[in-house]
Symmetry: C2
Subunit: 227 residues, 2 copies
């Protein structure tokens, strides 16, 4: 490549990275607001969250076509190719998190479920905060190409597991003591599950960052979950 | 490219396609067995399903590194590049379906939930059959690069929605009439949701196939789900 081509390539890569960082911020804010929609039953915010889902999709498609174009035009190899792949995979994971936010907004709890909702809202906010902190760190590990941070994230999701289990027990107790509360409690259980699932996507992003820097998947190193 | 290079490239592409077709078959069989583990509480089959999960992961990683190598070495453009992307994206979706199968196997219903399980098993088998038929068709649309079949799949998941809604209503009725059945019913609700989610991944595969053939996403054509 000529010096000019190298500079143009770096600028393109930089632009791609900025787009995925922006998508990360947008998805994080959208998800946080989706949990607020659920807890505060805010119709206006609900519409806003769904509108932003469209914007996130558009950004995802832009990153994807940018990545394909860049591979086709510049024919990168080794690290540069892995960087494009990692950005692309991160965008896929972010778009799945956006879908989870949409699912949460779609699960409005009926007024008859007010008590269950009030009881669970603290736990829901807590697990959402923990999940979104991890999401933020995962995107940050990509932007800073920090494989160690990524690997630490990959190995530590016990906090979310613990909050999630406590929330499930709480909601099951509601159901068993007041069967009429079951529909609301089930809705909230699914929301808790959606929030917990953010953790799986964070793990995938962390794995993509590790692959970028080390050239191999974390799973290839050691497998912490024997079958 | 020389004729020799073209032939070698075609052979590599062909190999990649065969791997993703194989992964599709494996994931389909694994998922079907996961639902049987849940319904028949078969410990031996459970272990077998989890072991096959490892094999599916290995195949996913093999497809991924094959795709990256092929892009780096052959520097394909246009259709050839989109084909590699579509195969890769399909492998990602298949691996998510494999994770769903693992989730189902992890949700064993306690003996106290026998009645709920017996009541829901017909619906669970029905929705699993419908979802796996769609999965099979989606992978088939990739192997045959059939964009019309892919678009038909993308536009038709009402059948699964209907079975899923009926199953949810049935399980909620159980909970409300017998609160002690709630833990079992909740477990089965999550399984039903996992099976229903196969449909989302099928939709993504269909979209990838459409992109391969037409060079644009289905969403870009018309959006059937206004926000």
């Amino acid at each position: 490549m000529t010096e000019h081509t190298v500079k143009a390539f770096d600028a393109d890569l930089d632009h791609l990275m900025k787009m995925v960082a922006k998508m990360g911020e947008q998805v994080e804010a959208t998800f946080r607001d989706a949990v607020e929609v659920l807890i505060r039953r805010d119709d206006k915010l609900a519409k806003d969250v769904l509108d932003r889902g469209e914007a996130n999709n558009a950004l995802h498609r832009e990153i994807e076509s940018g990545a394909v174009l860049l591979i086709a035009r510049r024919q990168p190899v080794a690290y540069d190719l892995r960087l494009i792949v990692a950005i692309w995979e991160t965008a896929i994971e972010l778009s799945h998190i956006g879908d989870l936010a949409k699912n949460i907004v779609g699960r409005l709890v009926a007024p008859s479920g007010s008590d269950v909702l009030a009881g669970a809202s603290r736990g829901l906010r807590r697990i959402a905060r923990a999940a979104l902190r991890r999401l933020h760190d995962a995107v940050d590990s990509l932007v800073k190409t920090d494989a160690e941070k990524a690997e630490r994230l990959w190995r530590s999701d016990q906090e979310i597991d613990a909050i999630y289990s406590a929330l499930c027990r709480e909601l099951l107790t509601y159901m068993m003591s007041d069967p009429q509360a079951s529909p609301a409690a089930v809705n909230l259980l699914f929301c808790a599950k959606s929030i917990e699932s953010v953790g799986d996507h964070v793990t995938n992003i962390a794995d993509a960052v590790h692959y970028l820097v080390q050239g191999r998947r974390i799973e290839g190193v050691t497998s912490p979950q024997p079958a």
